[in-house]
Point group: C2
Chain length 360, copies 2
């Protein structure tokens, strides 16, 4: 494509991206609706939100906020259906704790307590269940949260896949936090807390569907220390954080660009990526920007405080490779552009589905 | 059996009931572990609690309590896997809201907010999902709670059964409440808020596995108005409440007798029961005392305040048939005895499993 038609095509895509909230037109639920991309967006915006209609839900943050007796609390819930339940670097028990703790952390809420609700498949080995409960307990201890309530259901063989876990996290909003999914401002640095795509790739390789061996460990961990460091260093100049889970960094950036009505310009060469993950991505033909992380966040920081925020983040274990990967711009509103290593620019859109289903 | 051997057998059962916390010895999870009876108890006490080890969890209340900035909050989580998802009188959407609201209510906590986390089966009709989300919204409105956060996952066809829903409720402890699962005192009236076994029977008949037709509707509803009325009428004389869900009134009484170290003496003739439910129970050979309710609670009230509490309860819609069904006694500690219509007494033990799996 020569420059002029490419420019025209990009403008067409941009005009679509600026359109109204997604509509839901499908007759049946498909795997794509759970993948964190465009189909998920249409399910949420086109069906779930109109039917539920709560303003907090409509704000689409990672956690719902509620004021109780003078305290601002955050509440967030996630179901985990990862397959297989164990993978290099972690298991469903770790994910269930860290995933929920991280939704609180990127909302600027200090995690306090969790609930754990299990759906077990008849025939599950008791030793597998015990191992996962112990993983929950260890991860909760590391994250500094208590598991204070629980529930267990059992369904017949074939009506679940070993086990599903739903965790809900309660946190208290940190006084330093002034975050909003609509808070991105042109000029903000886009900071990524470390190398991407490790969790999704680790789970994918654990399925052994590909003749590919690589030493890739899930990055599952609590992001509260990273969030805490950013809040301390940048305060109100920290405009937004998001953990880059389902759909990867690309989906997190797209959602926030859309809700803030700004553009995000990402420099591909600045995105940290381990060589093993880069190699596996290339062999599988999957763009690592769309692959899930379970211990990485993107942060949007006003330029005055951004260098200090980045330095503070790099001092946190697990975030040593934090980097500025781009900048917020006024245009193209609601979209993400990637600057490739060769000086070109392309749109990094939401995917319709996900190349890697059930990674969390 | 003549009187003497029967008495001996009862003493044997009593000595077993007084034994240590249940141990978990099974190699695999079975349906019985999710049924709310003895097997569930052994899973919870023998595996989950030792691995998690939080004092709040170990207290085994319906909700976990946590102090945040001077407020006492309650947090409770439940997964719903009812089959079929719709049944006379309600659906999984109603259950998911009311079941969680009720765990807060019987803990003496005013429900404030919910999260909703869904696991959807690939192929689920969008219209079925929409109907359930609308049911959630309606039930939440009636119960006076907001749904402030959510999550959706999709699993492949065959890895769920249409849909599972996990709801978590946040509530604030009512200042009038002085409740404890260990709070039963000899002499307390045992008050039941209405007729039993309607939910479990409605779901069972909806499965059409039996050639039996009866007009039985699930009793699913918010119990906060009932709890509120009891708190207003009895204050600190209200020693404990519990919603009689999985395992029915029999299981709720057994759990509380055990955790309080007291006996519960129930008069069978005083337990409210609709004629259609009595008939269906008899035909199916199921004791309605073990069948799940989704809008009934048992309350334990000091005798001084019990008549006023009962009168207040009867003024609440849905609790018009509230009745005293028994009394707390010092002996037999940890057990429930039923006085039959013929003047006899028998032990009403926990069942090992449940005659009606997946009713919530």
């Amino acid at each position: 494509m020569s420059a002029a038609p490419r420019e025209r095509r990009m403008r067409e895509i941009i005009s679509v991206a600026r359109a109204k909230p997604a509509r839901f037109r499908d007759e049946r639920i498909t795997m794509a609706h759970g993948a964190g991309g465009k189909s998920s967006q249409s399910l949420i915006e086109g069906l779930l939100l109109p039917a539920l209609g709560d303003e907090q839900l409509a704000a689409l943050g990672d956690a719902g906020l509620i004021d109780v007796a003078g305290s601002s609390l955050a509440l967030t819930s996630d179901s985990f259906v990862v397959r297989p339940i164990r993978f290099p670097g972690g298991s469903i028990g770790d994910l269930a704790v860290n995933g929920t703790v991280n939704d609180l952390a990127v909302s600027g809420a200090r995690p306090l307590a969790l609930t754990l609700s299990l759906v077990l498949e008849e025939g599950l080995l008791a030793s597998d269940l015990q191992a996962e409960i112990e993983a929950v307990a260890r991860a909760a201890q590391v994250a500094g949260v208590r598991v204070i309530s629980g529930d267990t259901k059992v369904v017949e063989r074939g009506h679940a896949d070993q086990m599903y876990a739903c965790t809900t996290g309660l946190g208290i909003l940190d006084e330093r936090a002034a975050l909003s999914p609509a808070g991105l401002v042109p000029g903000d640095w886009i900071i990524l807390s470390g190398a991407i795509a490790e969790h999704g790739m680790a789970v994918m390789l654990a399925r052994e569907e590909f003749a590919l061996e690589a030493e890739i460990l899930s990055d599952t961990r609590s992001l509260w220390p990273a969030a805490d460091a950013l809040l301390a260093a940048a305060g109100a100049d920290l405009h937004c954080m998001r953990d880059a889970t389902r759909g990867g960094v690309a989906s997190a950036l797209n959602e926030l660009a859309r809700s803030s009505g700004v553009g995000a310009i990402v420099s591909e060469a600045d995105v940290p990526l381990a060589p093993a993950v880069a190699g596996a991505s290339e062999l599988l033909g999957i763009d690592p920007m769309y692959v899930a992380n379970e211990g990485k966040l993107v942060a949007f920081v006003a330029p005055e405080s951004a260098p200090a925020a980045l330095a503070a983040l790099r001092a946190v274990p697990g975030s040593e490779r934090a980097a500025q990967i781009g900048v917020v711009a006024a245009e193209p509103a609601g979209m993400v552009l990637v600057e490739t290593g060769f000086g070109g620019r392309r749109v990094m859109d939401l995917l319709a589905g996900d190349p890697l289903p059930r990674i969390c």
